[in-house]
């Protein structure tokens, strides 16, 4: 190719070129803020956790069956808090995934445009309610309600916290799933309808598999929300660190523990206080695992319509 100088009318305009470059760098640096945030989170959590693990063996942390870091006889078994977190999340997901998915399918495949356009915003409003409000709702409304059916239920329990958390997550799941389903092109549905499939058959056999990666994303976000939810469990699940997977028990979760200690009376820098960073790190890693799983699921099953 000729590298001869190009006639003026077609040569690069330097000023324009430089301006474009600068803009690109600015945009890139904005995108890096998100990376910096993660780095910041990891840095803070790891730095403070190192102090903690300097005094508590990581083996104990992972294997001890008691969590009494603030007692005179301290134990640091994170499993105790994890069990609470996992149980409440599992209850929440048992509500949120079926209800959310059913709703999404209903809105996307069955409901009329009118119903959909009315229902979606209302559901999104549910997602906008401050979680602390949900917390007191669980404690003062749902728990007494459950007690009518099951009088033995303690005043604080994972069950009502989990249920309310599930309701809170429903809109996240239904909204994202519904978007994913609506993105499935009509031509795919028509293919199935043309063979004589009913709406439900089309929904379950064609739309749901086609929207799989979107559904996975919705579920993963739901899990992250459940695992990371703080105020509902702090208020309604009781603060008793229990190694239990029984929904009718009361138990502490990682998040509830952190928020409580963060405003408690412990001297900062003490091992007891440092536990919140170790717990925070655990929580971060837990959600990281779920999110990475979601990412790869999405990548693997990216829709090619």
């Amino acid at each position: 190719m000729s590298q001869a100088p190009i006639a003026g009318r077609l040569a690069y305009r330097r000023s324009r070129h430089i301006r474009e470059q600068i803009i690109e760098w600015l945009l890139l640096s904005s995108a890096l803020v998100a990376v910096a945030t993660t780095v910041g989170i990891v840095f803070i959590l790891v730095k403070e956790s190192l102090v903690f693990f300097g005094q508590v063996s990581i083996i104990d942390f992972l294997t001890d069956s008691q969590w009494t870091p603030l007692f005179s006889d301290p134990h640091f078994g994170i499993w105790v808090l994890l069990s609470g977190t996992l149980t409440s999340s599992a209850i929440a997901l048992c509500v949120a995934i079926p209800v959310g998915t059913t709703l999404a399918i209903y809105l996307s495949e069955f409901a009329s445009a009118r119903v959909r356009e009315t229902a979606k915003p209302i559901l999104e409003l549910l997602a906008g309610i401050p979680t602390i409000v949900f917390g007191y709702f669980a404690l003062f409304f749902v728990t007494p309600l459950l007690k009518i059916i099951y009088p033995e239920l303690p005043g604080f329990n994972l069950l009502s916290a989990g249920l309310v958390m599930g309701v809170m997550i429903v809109p996240y799941i239904s909204s994202i799933s519904e978007d994913a389903m609506r993105a499935v092109p009509m031509s795919l549905r028509e293919g199935a309808y043309a063979m004589g499939a009913t709406r439900l058959q089309v929904a379950l056999n064609v739309v749901v598999p086609a929207a799989f990666s979107g559904l996975a994303a919705a579920y993963i976000l739901g899990i992250s929300r459940a695992v990371g939810e703080t105020m509902i469990v702090a208020v309604a699940a009781g603060m008793q660190p229990n190694l239990t997977f029984n929904p009718t028990d009361q138990a502490a979760t990682i998040t509830a523990y952190i928020v409580q200690v963060a405003k408690g009376d412990l001297p900062h820098g003490s091992v007891g206080y440092q536990t919140i960073f170790a717990a925070g790190l655990t929580l971060f890693l837990l959600t990281l695992v779920f999110n990475l799983m979601g990412y790869f699921l999405r990548k693997r099953f990216r829709e090619e319509y």
Binding site: Q66, T68, P69, L70, F71, S72, D73, L139, F140, P154, G155, F156, V235, G238, M239, Q240, P241, N242, Q250, A252, Q260, V261, A262, K263, G264, D265, L266, P267, H268, G269, S270, G272, Y273
Partner: protein, 325 residues
Amino acid sequence: GQQSDSPTPGASPSAPTNTVIGIDGSSTVYPITEAIAEEFQLANQGKVKVTVGVSGTGGGFKKFCRGELDIANASRPIQKLEMDACAQAGVKYFELPVAYDALTVVVNPQNEFLSTITIEQLKQIWAPESQGTITRWNQIDPSWPDAEFKLYGAGSDSGTFDYFTEAVVGKAKASRGDYTASEDDNTLVQGVSQDLNALGYFGYAYFAENQAKLKALAVVPVAGGAGVLPSEETVINGSYTPLARPMFIYVSDKAAARAEVRQFLNFYFENIATLAAEVRYVPLPPEAYLTIKKHLDDNKMGTVFGGEPATAITIEELLRREASL
């Protein structure tokens, strides 16, 4: 200027009317300081601004010892770790007891068999060794029913927990773990009021506001003695022991040098007696306040507790210690 070393947020050296007195710390002390701050600002028509936070005693001291606060609310004396931090940052402080809280042991109002309990019995119930073994009323006293009890208490991150364990079990932070813990005392109230076999403890204010839903137990300090119910009188006369505990504010030396902080502290000690009672705490006798106030005037700084937790501090004992400063 007077502010340069006090980076209180919002402080603007050029405009003294914008001065802010930053207070933070214990949620237990909060209602008292809040009441004072409210009245003080009214009396001042907002010329001096006061903020009160609830970061917990630990969070308060953390900021206090970094020089970020003027006053720290504390539901326990300053501890060794925090004294070191303060010393390192060159923060000196006045330790000012402001009122008493009577930790109240409560049961469900429908509980017929309990109205008095001894410290010994409480210890039996709450000791770490009891976890999993002592779970029924009749294990404490055979005349009590054969039913499982449910325990409610302060979160292990709180000063209340530290104090109660020290006073009852004899060792701070020594407690059984299988009880419902909450930082939010209302949830404890809720729990005890709904549970026939509940026993719990929390600050007097929460009992006082919910007397219809709860029943306070008279506590027998030493075996064979008489039960004492918590009240202003029993705290002041020292008979409600060991569950009466003092609460403090800590004022940094630099803040104390500021006119508006002085003004605030003066207001504090003039009004504490009425306001503390209003928010259901037990004020100290007037002469006690005079002694304490005098530390401030005499520039007597430091703590009288040596960084150790302390219990069974009656007002008398407190004053004795204060005098030693």
